[in-house]
Symmetry: C2
Subunit: 502 residues, 2 copies
């Protein structure tokens, strides 16, 4: 067995009872006390053993299931999952230090850093790409998409020849607005169809949202680590980033954010991916969502929610976005794109700007007028159709099996002491090597072997993820992939002075 | 006969000889000395009569032809056009006052003004829209577009399912890049295919260009009057606009711009539509283009060129964009969109950022990642194909006849003293009423009658076009249109205290 590292517990006492209990069971799995395939104690047994309520016992089991440690077998009970054996979870952030903006990190030019990495990646021929997270075309239902386009052009032959009148809905097609508003309602969000703004993917949405609520020099709180695209948007708008630590179990630290509000008067917005956070894969618990929404309202800050990954959640329970808690003040800006879940080639998304919707509309109109109608109509037709739901299920199942296969390969070949996130869905895993590791060096060495990775330094301005990397699980795990992971593991072991694992 | 107003000659002495001569002939037409249908003196006669060179005589005839005053009949000579009878040209700007930024005009919120007008237009039902300038869908070849899409999806079935790898050309399809670079070369622009960046229409391109070259508080010189969308972009980026007077005959005043460079150190960029300027319809003479490019180079400013209307020029001579003069310093940023000339529904355009191309790419990547591949491929296939060339000819002929019909209606029904631009192509006319007119009031009154117009105040921050309006000529001139122009003329006459014209 490997990685005998217990679950980090820096803020253990602050956790709710069910999570502390869950931590004990995780440790038991890691120590081999509970083995893969073994049955967990029943709810009744747990209640008696730990003197806890039915609700706490159930919460703990669901929490462990959501984190990928347990699997539920209907009418039998919960079982320890195979995958779990020997893998340590990624560590909790150290919240003992107060959150301070890093003055050296604000304008260090993350764009230049990322551009340089992308450029170097571009120039080297790579046969294995585990850096980028867009699933390959084969995982999408291209026939359904193409048929929809052909049918739309037959039924509305003037579609491409017609400029959406800017006087009518500012170029947002009513059918698209209706479809998005219906979908939102199913998640507990009330938005009028007229308040749906079509966007080009999600980068545009988040960029418009930030431009609407902040002026150059203002501060934006982001999750740490975060999607590098967000750091680029913030920098391109000449805003400052403030990185808020993220727990792999509960997401953005509400306490750290509160401290930031108390000390940073120019903090005007918070950007959060509440479901399957990129890159950690964290699902923020509902109680945290409610607290986060309330906290931002209290400080009059905009809460910008990127909900593009909610569609990948593997749990059967419906996902409840942050926006669902925003019933009065309209300070949550909701953004969603369908690039990764339906059609990467369409670049279609939408947003609702809450109390800033008028300003967002104005900025969109000024900066790119309106979004192509054809793309809007394809999404309106496809989203929620039985064919699409089936395809999404297939996509999720495929991603799940690929994530698990990749995790097994990491467990087998990567250095001792490597920690791993185990998200309840999504496109990637987040790896933490032992502190001595440099994934920037690993990036360079791997490129020579035709392997492209995403080093941790892409996901933060603070330099604190030099020993981490994001591992895309979007490609089939075949012999070539196993060989690449083995090679990568060997490079990492050598860098750390560990024996290479076979 | 109407409008016995001679061509304004405020800067007469500064004009080249051929233009001064042309002014005399214009006056002669307006005074009835030269009547519609009459043959102009031949080149030899002109040379003898005015003691000018062959070149000056030819330049004058071509200038008058380009302005719509003359029509050339092959092997016969030049004839005074019907249209010209009784219509005065729009006036030259007063260049005797030095150019100063208007401190009250910079941040007056043109966006709010325009949004308000658009919103009011939206809420009132209008059966005649002569405010917006996008040609109706019927004028485009939708069958060709739809066939191209269907064929592309058959040949490349994964197109919509495939995310363009951001590592390969940053999401710019090589076929699109190749096609745009080829087209540019035909206009005298040398651009490597790899330096073609696909954009969503032209607003995005100009917005990216400005964000790349200026920081908030910097100043941008724009043509006056200008397309209101540009004023919105400038304001949304928190830049200041400096309006440079435009002559309806030669475009942006190079002298005024030079003065602005001498007095405004924060002037970082100039945005120009050199061909068929929106809304004046001016074609900038080549010698002015060369001087403009040189002047911007001298002051180290970016010259942002919007060349979307060059495709509408009715002259057979190939159009030479500003970028063609930018052979060394790369300070011209070239932008072009195909919304109005090929497919309003596609929202496809491209740009080359010159010396700022890397920064433009970075901003595009941060703010909206990449542009849909399907749209790129459709444009690459359609542009320059025989079918498209035929359709473009048809579109131009239709627009020309509509412009002329609209001009005749204006001449018949609008108040005495109304002046009119007569562009050599394009989608609209620019009207100047007598100074006492308020087109804002006309806008309100016309809306009550279901007629939507674009009042002059939309085209400037300076308040100097209150008595002007842009008249779209994109719709067929049928009985309903004639009735609307007659109604509008009656409203305008009443406002000016003139008898209504029948």
């Amino acid at each position: 067995m490997l990685n005998p590292v217990a679950l980090a517990r820096t803020d253990e006492a602050a956790l709710p009872l069910y999570q502390r209990l869950a931590g004990d069971y995780c440790a038991a799995m890691e120590l081999g006390t509970l083995k893969a395939g073994e049955r967990m104690p029943s709810v009744r047994e747990l209640m008696a053993r730990h003197q806890v309520s039915l609700s706490t016992a159930l919460q703990m089991l669901r929490f462990l299931e959501g984190r990928g440690h347990l699997e539920a077998r209907p009418r039998v009970g919960y079982f320890v999952r195979e995958l779990q054996t020997g893998l340590a979870l990624t560590s909790e952030p150290d919240l003992s230090q107060p959150v301070q903006p890093n003055p050296h990190a604000h304008f260090v030019g993350i764009n230049e850093h990322i551009s340089l990495l992308l450029e170097r990646g571009r120039q080297a021929p790579a046969h294995i790409d585990i850096g980028g997270c867009t699933p390959p075309a084969e995982l999408f239902d291209h026939q359904h998409l193409n048929k929809t386009v052909t049918r739309l052009l037959r039924e509305q032959p003037m579609l491409l020849a017609q400029g959406r009148s800017l006087l009518a809905n500012q170029g947002n097609h009513p059918d698209f607005q209706q479809a998005m508003a219906r979908r939102a309602l199913a998640c507990g969000i009330r938005v009028a169809p007229a308040d749906v703004l079509a966007t080009t993917g999600n980068s545009e949405a988040v960029s418009l949202a930030l431009a609407a609520v902040a002026v150059p020099g203002d501060m934006v709180a982001v999750e740490s680590p975060t999607y590098y695209g967000l750091l680029q948007v913030v920098e391109s708008l000449k805003l400052q980033t403030l990185e808020i630590p993220c727990s792999p179990r509960t997401g953005l630290s509400i306490e750290a954010l509160e401290l930031a509000f108390q000390t940073q008067p120019r903090l005007k917005a918070v950007v959060v991916v509440p479901e399957l956070q990129m890159p950690l894969g964290t699902r923020m618990p509902d109680e945290h969502k409610a607290r986060l929404v309330a906290l931002c309202a209290q400080y009059g800050a905009a809460l910008i929610e990127d909900d593009s990954y909610g569609l990948f959640v593997e749990d059967k329970q419906p996902v409840r976005p942050l926006k669902a808690w925003d019933s009065v003040s309209g300070h949550v800006i909701y953004c969603q794109a369908f690039n990764k879940s339906m059609a990467p080639g369409l670049r279609q998304g939408w947003m609702n700007g809450g109390q800033w919707h008028g300003r967002v509309q104005m900025l969109k109109f000024a900066q790119s007028r309106n979004t192509q109608t054809l793309g809007q109509l394809v999404v309106a037709e496809v989203l929620g159709s039985p064919t699409h739901l089936r395809n999404l299920q297939r996509l999720k199942a495929q991603l799940k099996s690929q994530r698990e296969a990749m995790a097994r390969l990491v467990a087998r070949y990567f250095p001792l002491g490597t920690r791993l996130s185990l998200p309840g869905g999504g496109l990637c895993l987040w790896l933490e090597f032992p502190e001595a590791m440099s994934t920037a060096s690993l990036f360079t060495e791997a490129l020579v072997h035709g392997i492209r990775i995403a080093p941790g330094s892409m996901f933060s301005n603070s330099g604190r993820y030099e020993h981490c990397m994001r591992l895309a699980c979007t490609h089939p795990v075949n012999a070539a992939m196993e060989k690449a992971i083995q090679q990568l593991g060997a490079m990492a072991c050598r860098q750390l002075g560990q024996p290479v694992r076979e």
